[in-house]
Amino acid sequence: MNIVVCIKQVPDTKGGVKFNPDGTLDRASMLAIMNPDDKAGLEAALRLKDETGAKVTVVTMGLPKADDMLREALAMGADEAVLITDRRLGGADTWATSSTIAAGLKKLDYDLIITGRQAIDGDTAQVGPQIAEHLGLPVISYAEKIQVEGNNVIVQRQYEDRYHEIKAQMPCLITALAELNEPRYMTPGGIFDAFDKEVTVWGRDDLTDLDDANIGLAGSPTKIAKASDKVRKGAGEKVALDPKESVDYIVGKLKEKHVI
């Protein structure tokens, strides 16, 4: 079985956030990690590899420095890694990103594609289902449990107040929740090997089944009109009183606002 996991290098949102003059994110200047939902997807794939001997390939689209993250994935146990990188692909929205990644996936053998549910920078949760759409595959989003039975996957699909146990035919695409598992660490031997392995690099011209109209900033239907740091609501009053006075203060405010 061939499993392809789509992973993304994301800025750690605990650090600062910076923008380019055109309103797109200045990813180059921020600390980078493997997106948590994607890492859970990779772990799920590696567990299937442990059980069934599946081959696991990781694919990313991003800046050349995403090579670091691919080597981390190799050190965790992935067999092969592909980096799709080209300046012409930059500034892509989810339509252009999913079109590009789908064109890359068409060059690979896959029975199962796993993506993270959403990335912690964009928070869109759109690229996984849109890749499935471009490839004509069944999609099961929000997976909290994945099993393989013969030519089918059985997935526990999360909703707000329930889950569905879903059976889908492979090939198919699953989006993984971080809750799915606890990703393994890289092994020392794995780290050593990862730096000897070849990472396949594809530029735009390697993706033949891809129209120029669907790539990069120009090929993105959605355009950023404005981006900024969040303006937070201003602080109100803050008091430090003894408990009795605190109670009087709160009761007074609730009366003033006609809550009681």
Partner: protein, 347 residues
């Protein structure tokens, strides 16, 4: 694609178990404002099996038209038959705006359908308005009017972006539940009902639902509560939430919590407020022993009145609180509950 062919504001009226979700009414409320600005009307599109009776309620909440797609394949949500039906609606009726709730259904259906009809989609919007793109006219670029400007948080709530979809139709957005306001229900208000029966064709993308397992229902949805008494790690123990239960009871409110409390296993996830929980906007939000990380405040800062009690005077919750009390919740809460009991008894 001739953009002028696309007219009207449409919303996906989500139903589960043949009961309309609150988000359906919230989307109608927002769609009304947008339609008024555009001089057009609001269509609610409802998909399911045996759902003809839902049209009346959508009319009462303000839909001008209701398109009903009733088909056995749509009984329980599955991506492919729902995507076929909604894409067929878009191709046939050509709305200029299509809104979908950013629910576990909408965030799967929205991207699939937007890719199928080859348009853009903006995720998890918290504000929508009609305006110009670019916002300010630029030399050498046409400024388009009457565009949907979609505003959304990203980076875990650290940034806000406003996005337009100037060259493709429909302009599609998923909208965060609990943010937009419903209209008052007007009993007897009628929408024009249209039954639409596109072909829904089984293919390799149809999945099989083996099992539906519902979580143990909690009695109340925190998104509907007028008063929320919300606790964080500072409450100290699951037992100590009794103090919050008592305060909530006297005010007719509901207890909710922060992510730390869910992670510690003290409370179930459906009571969680914040980025990875629910967005709430009650009349009064008590933040008790909650430090107020941005992931939490993103889900509650639209509350009308925020009252925070925390012993750490540097806690970021005080930056969003209207009334902040630096003090010991163990001393303040029991006394507050007693004082409120006395006040309310005196009325």
């Amino acid at each position: 694609m001739s953009l002028e062919e696309y007219k009207g504001v449409a919303i996906f009226a989500q139903q589960v178990d043949n009961k309309l979700s609150s988000i359906a009414f919230e989307l109608i409320g927002k769609a009304h404002e947008l339609a008024a600005d555009l001089g057009t009307e609001v269509t609610a599109v409802v998909l399911g099996s045996g759902i003809a009776n839902l049209a009346d309620e959508l009319g009462e909440y303000g839909a001008d038209k209701v398109v009903v797609i009733d088909n056995k394949e749509l009984e329980t949500y599955r991506t492919e038959p729902y995507a076929q039906a909604l894409a067929a609606y878009i191709n046939e009726y050509k709305p200029e705006i299509m809104l979908v709730g950013a629910t576990a259904i909408g965030r799967d259906l929205g991207p699939t359908v937007s890719a199928r009809v080859a348009t853009g989609l903006t995720a998890d919007c918290t504000s929508l308005e009609i305006g110009d793109f670019p916002l300010v006219a630029r030399e050498g670029q046409e400024q388009k009017h009457n565009q949907l400007l979609m505003t959304r948080p990203a980076f875990g709530g650290n940034t806000i972006a406003t996005i337009a979809c100037p060259d493709n139709r429909p302009q599609m957005a998923t909208v965060r539940p609990g943010v937009m306001q419903k209209l008052e229900k007007v009993a007897g208000r009628k929408a024009e009902v249209i039954n639409f029966n596109p072909e829904i064709k089984p293919n390799n993308r149809f999945v099989e639902i083996l099992n539906v397992v519902k979580n143990v229902a909690t009695t109340v949805d925190i998104m509907d509560a007028k008063i929320l008494v919300s606790g964080g790690r500072g409450v100290g123990s699951p037992e100590n939430f009794k103090l919050l239960d008592d305060l909530a009871e006297v005010l007719g409110g509901t207890v909710s919590c922060s992510r730390a409390v869910v992670d510690a296993g003290w409370k179930p996830k459906d009571l969680q407020v914040g980025q990875t929980g629910k967005t709430v906007r009650p009349n009064v939000y008590f933040a008790i022993g909650i430090s107020g990380a941005i992931q939490h405040t993103a889900g509650m800062e639209e509350s009308d009145i925020i009252i925070a009690i925390n012993k750490d005077e540097t806690a970021p919750i005080f930056d969003v609180a209207d009334y902040g009390i630096v003090g010991d919740l163990n001393k303040i809460l029991p006394a507050l509950t007693e004082a409120l009991k006395a006040e309310l008894a005196a009325k």
